[in-house]
Symmetry: D2
Subunit: 133 residues, 4 copies
């Protein structure tokens, strides 16, 4: 139920303090989430074809240990809720030592692309495919 | 006690759904925070000269209304706590209508650059200059 | 005929060598170009309304002196050609000393949004408004 | 002599025209270059240990075909010159069709980290390890 996404910290994401700049984690979270969705055959493009978008409405990140240039990270992603919202939880660990580096969470709302309306329920088709109960 | 920082949403920060990509808010929050600090004569460079760095250890964002290309935003920043941690709160509003677009918060720890140790207290010098009690 | 766009180098655009990361200049060039276009009442949104997009097909940058965190830059933009392509030239200078920091150039093609065809001529309406001969 | 680096276009790098934003290619070029260097046991960190940095002094990109979200790219990197400067050439192709998408080039100068002086010659140690003549 967990998708592990590997990422090597690129030079351009590292700041003058020689650690990955804190805003860049959000990019990796999205890549990890897309890997999770791809494994379940439900990419952003699929969602769009079905007529939905899933904008992020809430974001929480706890930074535990800094990441450095060239460090190999594993981002473990799991779907924590899939009823009113899509809630994903992320754990960043060092690929070699397994040391925990960061914990994060995103909450996504479902929007109908045709009507532009917010739905406060994840459509069944998507819920089932993502393995939500 | 609030610093208002103005920013126009650039094209390159807008995603295929034609709204500002959610991770980019974190960049503007840092610019707004730097504007807040500059107004109080305490830039990152000053902090470093005094021997400290202030890594972000926690980040929370609530997205209320999407932002679009060319939209003029005001990011209002205030210091919410300045004892064990630096806690900043941010409010994104539309520069013309004043409509609330986003609320966010960052928590920064103080690290001594020489010893690399985490201090669980903001140094008095910095606290006073930032207007913390 | 030149638009001067001011930009302060943000922390998040600075790399571990403590200079602005070289890829980030391209972002500022786009902001400077958009400022140029806005001054002539021809934003990307206007272009789109007229049915055109102008993808960048060529980019050249010469880095002369590094930029550092907090440095105020002026990016001077001028339209160098406006016949088959839109060609903009950019000069980055230090806002205080006027020292030249970077020279760059972009070439944009016109694409018809309806037919998706490349036009090898800038439409007259746009050419006139941008002050091309 | 060529290093092939694979990259899948992430959502956050795609712009409102639904193609990868042109400035983002520069990020992938750096990742591809770092993969090239890593294969030859000469990372940025190694270079720094030897006392050198290699800032990019020139950048040229020709965009041939747009890239879209989720597209798998191969970036082929080769060292084109290694005497006064490090010159890398890059070719972006679609991972499945092999279609050519972009051609680019970077030129890097050698700087001595101790003296901050520009060297107009690539140090022999580095030249040999990179397979330059």
């Amino acid at each position: 139920m967990i998708t592990a996404f590997e990422k090597t910290v690129p030079f351009y994401d590292v700041d003058p303090m020689r650690v990955m700049w804190h805003g860049n984690y959000v990019k990796y979270m999205e890549e990890a989430r897309c890997a999770f969705l791809a494994e379940r055959n439900m990419t952003y493009n699929d969602m769009e074809k079905y007529g939905y978008a899933f904008p992020v409405v809430e974001l929480k990140v706890k930074y535990i240990r800094p990441c450095v240039f060239g460090q190999r990270l594993i981002i473990k992603t799991r779907l924590d809720a899939c009823d009113s919202f899509l809630v994903f939880k992320y754990e960043f660990v060092d690929a070699e030592t397994g040391e925990k580096l960061c914990k994060a969470q995103t909450k996504q709302m479902c929007v109908c692309l045709k009507t532009k309306e917010s739905l406060f329920e994840i459509p069944e088709r998507i819920r089932k495919q993502l393995g939500g109960k």
